[in-house]
Amino acid sequence: MTGSRKLLIFGGMALAAFGMLYGLQYALFVEHQTLDHMGGSLAQSFAAAATRNLGQSQAALEQYGDTKYDYVRQLDAHSHWIGLAMLMIVLGVIFERVNFSEGIRQLVAFSLLAGSALFPLAVILQTYHHGAMVLKALAVVGSGLVIAGLTATAWGFARPRTTA
């Protein structure tokens, strides 16, 4: 097994396991409370408006917006970690069909692995610092690494066979 395949298969398995464990702890300890809080905030916002307490209504609506911002990102990070990991494992099985030298294949594999780990991590970190530009930039870099890696992979599949 070549180094690039090892990187993709073992990296993918580790990332999938991490993503699943992260999802499991989130589902067990955080998700239900978050969903209750999100639904409760929206209901409270409308109920406060019914009693003409507009200040409380607005505060509850802002809470709803903040909670949903976090919830969407937690779910996205969890699903993207596992999804990207599955893609890396599948690519790992057939990576010798990417018709580049092993050195370039290792570079592409590293780009896929680094981007797949970094992109969801930056998304999760945004829940601690809403709207932070550094974290948005980090997410862009992560997704850029994955897109660049996959573009190179598609190109490698389409190239005529010149290397093993």
Binding site: G39, L42, A43, S45, F46, A47, A48, A49, A50, T51, R52, L54, S57, Q58, L61, E62, Y64, G65, K68, Y69, V72, G83, M86, L87, I89, V90, L91, V93, I94, R97, G131, A139, V140, S143, G144, V146, I147, L150, T151, T153, A154, F157, A158
Partner: protein, 382 residues
Amino acid sequence: MPPISRAFPDRASVAPANSAPAFAPMSARRLYVFGGIALIAAGLLFGDIFAVFILHQNAALQGEALIAASRAVAAGNAAAVNEVFSHLGNVLEDRGTKVDAHVHMIGAGYLALLLALVQPYIALSRPTKKSLAALFIAGGVLLPLGIFLIHYVGLAGSPFAAIGWASVLADSAGALLILVLTVQAWGFWQYLRSRQISEPELPAEDSMPSRALLTGGTVLVLLGFLHGAYYAGTLLYEHEQMETAILQRLINAATAGNLDAVTTEVNNFGGLAGARAVNIAAHSHIIEFGLLAMLLSFVQPFVFLSEKWKRRWVKVLLGGSVILPVFVLLELKLGLLAGGIADIGGLMVIVALMGMLVGILRYSGGLDVENYVESNAGEGAR
């Protein structure tokens, strides 16, 4: 015993010569491939039925609930507001459990195909592998079934305060899948220690259908990534801000008793929810179909159809994989017409999967007959 004639004499003409030892009848790999493709096809069919008969009706119910909540706000009735939100929770659970059942069934199918690929590297006995495969497919069926039933069974007859029997079924099936994966991981660890594969690897086929699925699948995944990056960069934050802004305007209109403005804002809310839903659905479906195409490229050596039919099914699958996400996106501009075309795209993928499944069934059937003939001939000679 009289000799048994070959039931499928033309089978050899479409059979790859080197595939038989890797795909013995009733092997774990065969169970994973059959079960995986069947789970994916069933999950897609369920998703199509859900999209046609439930999705839009459910969205209308959500809009009605928001209007009812706004009327209760206008009337100054906080108790009625809470009652409406309780009902809204029920509507959302109905939608959510169906989406989850669809996603989990397809996800289990993908995992089954992935496990079929790695079986040579799982150092366990054949009967153990076969039992694990049967357990995995059973778990893959029971998990989405349990999720689907959550909305209908509720807490009826449950000894638990917050968990119903359907949730227990879904959680148990999920635990079964984790157990199977854990044993597979242990088998992989055993392989790493011995470095000896336990069965022949899947033959590498360099045919047009395999290459088209592999390249097409990679391109689909790439397009999905590019669309996701575009959505996250240009629309995600805007949509998030719009949601709270619309809700704020809705509450203000309800407080002022302006029911016309309430209706307008509820429509805006529905439009925003639709825009988010179609973008997320297009992003996830095109990537899923890309991954499916890549996985199917591995099992092409076992699709016992003529080259012409294999090419046809590949074209239908890749065509449907493009049509569905593109027309899901166009639903915002073209409405239900685009939705209908998207459903046809989904149906094309299902039909192509069924066609390939038939090809795999033809293969194993032929081998079963050949083995039966050989074993009977051996007995006759004795």
